[in-house]
């Protein structure tokens, strides 16, 4: 049960943001009970929607005076339960902070509010021949503030890197309402890289209220191919061989047979053959004159690895068609299963084939349908486990399988999450990859930014070990 917002606290918050922007009635709070990971649901005490840094600072000042925990939230598309708020916490949302504050095409920089949608930034930069590189699959819905919190990736970070490489400055508000400037392009004053450690801190350090990012010149040309395989392991070998050739595609994405069939059975059908066991999407970008040679080498590698068919896109529409099956895979799976648990482990590229085989075995052992769609080029897996939340016994098998999949990734030299974040979902598994000392160091750093432990509590870090046998 959520603790209701006291009249006094509600009035103080309304005094800052206006009556319409404090949400406390149960019906409207339902929209905030989960993020993109719907297996976890909780209702916050209230939601506050400020519209600029100053309002965020005043809201946080009030909440910290009252000792109320704060959960930052962007569009709620996260996949690890990072925006989940317990009944005693107040959500501070960025839905009204969507402005472009400054676009500086000459220096290829943009300063935006955190609620701006990822794809909108590219749309605004487009007329100047620029774009924003990190492109999570949810880019038409997710916010840049959320991207900063999660250090988001996307298909094209194989070549271009993740969010942290593009964020050059932040204005952040900490729990006590202090406004702090971190970084800033055009200056290198020395001191710890606080900007770097803030990116990916999942709302546990503060709220970013202004974001300065670097934009890139739009590549002159793009070439996309789709290779179809009868065996998933052959697609994995093709990825290894393409990288070994010294090619650096902008994206290398695999969708497996189960996913292909889900896509083709859905409204998102993309024309992939349903008897195939893997489809590999390969994209090159850069100077037009250099692309043909790269494509030719990639086609050879695919054929040698056993591709039965390689399609190339000749136009922008054809390119979108080749991508459609990959981009709509999550949506398609939502149509065939009631619920979806997506895992996010990363493994060294050379271990892909073996890890996929073991994931297949885990699915079979627990009698679960696991569909894989993943960023093969950087070894970032997305096994999707389909299940029905109302079936408690099945849910327990999903949890077992998830745990085993993460253990397999770690054993192969990888990690438990490549881009979705830890949130509430994976905090139990942090000790698979981190020693008690590592976790303790993270706790100490969180305490530097948030000494009272009230920023997004219960996320990322597992509870500290109990002392003297007392329950934690």
């Amino acid at each position: 049960m959520s603790e209701s917002l006291t009249k006094k606290l509600g009035n103080r918050l309304r005094g800052v943001v206006g009556d319409a922007w404090v949400i406390a009635d149960a019906d409207r709070l339902l929209a905030y009970e989960s993020d993109g990971l719907t297996a976890y649901r909780r209702t916050p005490r209230a939601v506050v929607l400020p519209q600029n840094t100053d309002e965020v600072s005043r809201v946080m000042g009030i909440l910290s005076q009252e000792g109320v925990a704060v959960v930052p939230r962007g569009a709620g598309t996260g996949l690890s339960g990072g925006a989940l708020a317990d009944g005693d916490a107040v959500v501070v949302g960025t839905a009204r902070m969507t402005d472009m504050l400054k676009l500086d095409p000459e220096n290829r920089l943009a300063r935006v509010q955190p609620g701006m949608i990822n794809a909108n930034l590219t749309a605004v930069a487009e007329p100047y021949g620029l774009y924003y590189a990190p492109d999570p699959s949810s880019q038409s819905a997710c916010t840049l503030g959320g991207n900063v919190a999660e250090n988001s990736g996307g298909p094209h970070c194989l070549k271009y890197g993740v969010t942290s490489r593009y964020v050059t400055g932040l204005t952040v508000v900490t729990y006590d309402g202090s406004i702090v400037e971190l970084g800033g392009f055009g200056r290198e004053p020395g001191g710890y890289d606080l900007l770097g450690v803030f990116v990916g801190s999942e709302g546990c350090f503060g709220i970013a209220t202004e974001i300065e990012v670097r934009l890139l010149p739009r590549p002159e040309g793009v070439s996309t191919l789709l290779a179809i395989f009868d065996r998933l392991s052959d697609a994995g070998s093709a990825v290894t061989e393409i990288m070994a050739e010294g090619l650096l595609p902008a994206a290398l994405e695999i969708i497996d047979g189960a996913t292909i069939r889900a896509v083709e059975a859905s409204v998102f059908a993309a024309g992939y053959p349903t008897d195939a066991e893997a489809a590999l999407v390969i994209e090159f970008d850069g100077i037009e004159a250099g692309l043909a040679a790269d494509v030719e080498r990639a086609v050879i590698q695919c054929r040698e690895a056993g591709a039965r068919e390689v399609r190339t896109a000749a136009s922008a529409e054809e390119r979108l068609a080749l991508w459609r099956g990959r981009k709509k895979a999550f949506g398609a799976m939502g149509q065939i299963g009631n619920d979806l648990m997506v895992q996010d482990g990363t493994v060294p590229r050379s271990k892909l084939t073996e890890v996929l085989r073991r994931i297949g075995e885990i699915g079979a052992r627990h009698e679960l349908l696991i569909a894989n769609v993943f960023h093969a080029g950087d070894g970032n897996l997305h096994p999707n486990i389909l299940f029905d939340r109302s079936d408690a016994e099945e849910l327990s098998r999903v949890e077992l399988a998830s745990t085993e999949i993460m253990a397999v990734c770690v054993e192969a030299g990888g990690t438990i999450t490549g881009e979705h974040g830890v949130g509430v979902d994976k905090r139990r598994y942090m000790s698979l990859v981190h020693s008690p000392d590592d976790l303790d160091a993270m706790r100490r750093i969180k305490a530097v930014f948030d000494p009272l432990g009230c920023m997004n509590p219960g996320k990322v870090l597992p509870d500290p070990p109990a002392v003297d046998g007392a329950a934690s």
Binding site: D104, E106, N107, G129, G153, G161, S164, L182, F185, G186, R187, E188, P189, G190, G191, Y192, D193, L195, G196, V197, V199, G200, S201, C204, L216, P217, R218, T240, M243, G246, L248, G286, I287, E288, A289, G290, L291, P348, R349, S350, D378, G413, T415, T417, G418, E419, H420, G421, K426, V433, H434, S435, D437, D438, D440, A441, M442, I445, K446, V448
Partner: protein
């Protein structure tokens, strides 16, 4: 052996500790340590830190010693801890495009090892090839290739750190995408040894591309060179580097040509794409390059850029937004009185046009008290002007008396609130290079 060195050799071994005249070349900002110690494992580093906490010594972590004169002079220098003897490559998986080595491994050794598999570490920090991996990360400085590949912080995948309180932390991992917890790797990159000693590093590698080509454009004077560099940095292509190079007095240009300013554009592409990039860049320059250097020659000119700080007595890093490079270069005229025009090569400039960072290297200074006073006031004024415009001035290397007076680092603003807490989280007893980094 002095008592301090004696105690350390009891805890480790005599062969791992030097003192006296042998410690002289390990001076930190002019201060010779009482001992230099060469641990061979994380356990030994932790042991050294443990003794230091008991005895109240200040430790300065280092590699081969190239950066010991950089940064703010620390408040105390009792022990230099060198990673030199921890220099093995511990894992190299060409298919996975990463290399993992102990912190004392030299960048040159990495280069040799990875080039066999047509891969490379796409970084060119100042200081030449004999620098170590650990020092590169601890200093965190990028060179011209930052434009195309990012800085060390963008390319480090993992590291092992022995903290001031003796804990051994495994940070990051071996994979490119990793968001399992807070990104503490970012904190140790550029931390100048104040959080702990880096003992191993895992770096991302890149495939070697078919063509390494540098185009050199000459300009009549520094101002037009800066304007050209600025214009070329805005070419709508992803160029690997765009560098403005201004040689010192009487020096030949980096290419062996005349001593006029140069703009060097580095292109790393397939052969066909390199030809096209050359066409686009030349068109934008409004002239053909006076020289085109391919392959080894292209790499060689940028190796010279890395080595440009050699022999300099004062190295400054000035920055402003890239579009203001001409103004930034113009501001260096304020520094012209700091060197003796009759001695040495005077002042060299090298600017990373796409990031707006200008390095100023000065040699031939008299270093008298009067000079220190004058240089202090010039640098303090210049820093004030740059900070007012959103830029910065860092004294990267210089005479300790000058660096002490000016301060190596600039204004770090409200974020300074967190710095002390972060240092205390890793080094609560404050034994690690206290005062070396902006507080």
């Amino acid at each position: 052996m002095n008592p301090l060195a004696g105690l350390l050799s009891e805890r480790l071994s005599e062969a791992q500790v030097v003192d006296g005249f042998e410690a002289e070349r390990w001076a930190v900002c002019g201060r010779v340590p009482q001992a230099v110690v060469f641990p061979e494992s994380e356990e030994q580093v932790a042991e050294i830190f443990s003794v230091s906490r008991e005895e109240g010594w200040s430790c300065v972590p280092g590699g081969r010693g190239s950066w010991l004169n950089g940064g703010q002079p620390p408040q105390g220098v009792d022990v230099v801890v060198s990673a030199e003897r921890m220099n093995n490559v511990t894992a190299y998986e060409p298919a996975d495009l990463f290399i993992e080595a102990q912190a004392g491994a030299e960048l040159e050794a990495m280069e040799r090892r990875t080039s066999e598999c047509r891969q490379w570490l796409a970084l060119d920090p100042p200081g030449g090839e004999r620098g170590t991996l650990g020092a590169m990360l601890a200093v965190g400085t990028a060179g011209p290739l930052q434009a195309g590949f990012g800085s060390p912080r963008d390319q480090v995948l993992g590291a092992t750190l022995v903290t001031g309180d003796g804990r051994v932390l495994g940070l990051g991992g071996r994979v490119v995408k990793n968001v399992a917890g807070f990104d503490l790797l970012k904190l140790i990159t550029g931390s100048w040894g104040t959080l702990g000693m880096i003992t191993s590093v895992t770096m991302r590698l890149h495939p070697v591309v078919a063509m390494d080509r540098s185009l050199l454009f000459k300009s009549g004077d520094v101002a037009s060179g800066a304007a050209l560099a600025c214009r070329l940095a805005q070419t709508p292509l992803q160029l690997a580097a765009v560098e403005l190079l201004v040689p010192g007095d009487g020096e030949s240009g980096a290419s062996g040509g005349a001593s006029s300013p140069l703009v060097a554009v580095r292109i790393l592409e397939s052969v066909d794409a390199a030809d096209e990039a050359e066409r686009v860049v030349s068109e934008r320059a409004g002239m053909p390059p006076f020289q085109r250097l391919d392959e080894e020659k292209s790499a060689a000119i940028f190796a010279n850029v890395r080595a440009m700080e050699d022999g300099a007595e004062l190295v400054l890093r000035l920055s402003l937004l890239p579009s203001r490079l001409p103004e930034l270069v113009e501001m260096t005229s304020r520094l012209s009185g700091l060197h003796d025009p009759t001695a040495g090569w005077g002042m060299r400039l090298a600017a990373h046009a796409p990031t707006g960072v200008l390095r100023v290297m000065i040699a031939g200074m008299d270093r008298s008290d009067e000079w220190v006073d004058r240089a202090t006031s010039v640098l303090v004024d210049l820093r004030r002007s740059l900070e007012a415009e959103g830029g910065s001035l860092v004294v990267s290397q210089g005479p300790p008396e000058l660096v002490g007076a000016v301060g190596a680092w600039g204004e770090s603003g409200s974020s300074a609130l967190f710095s002390a807490g972060i240092q205390a989280a890793f080094d609560p007893a404050s034994i690690l290079a206290p005062g070396r980094l902006a507080q």
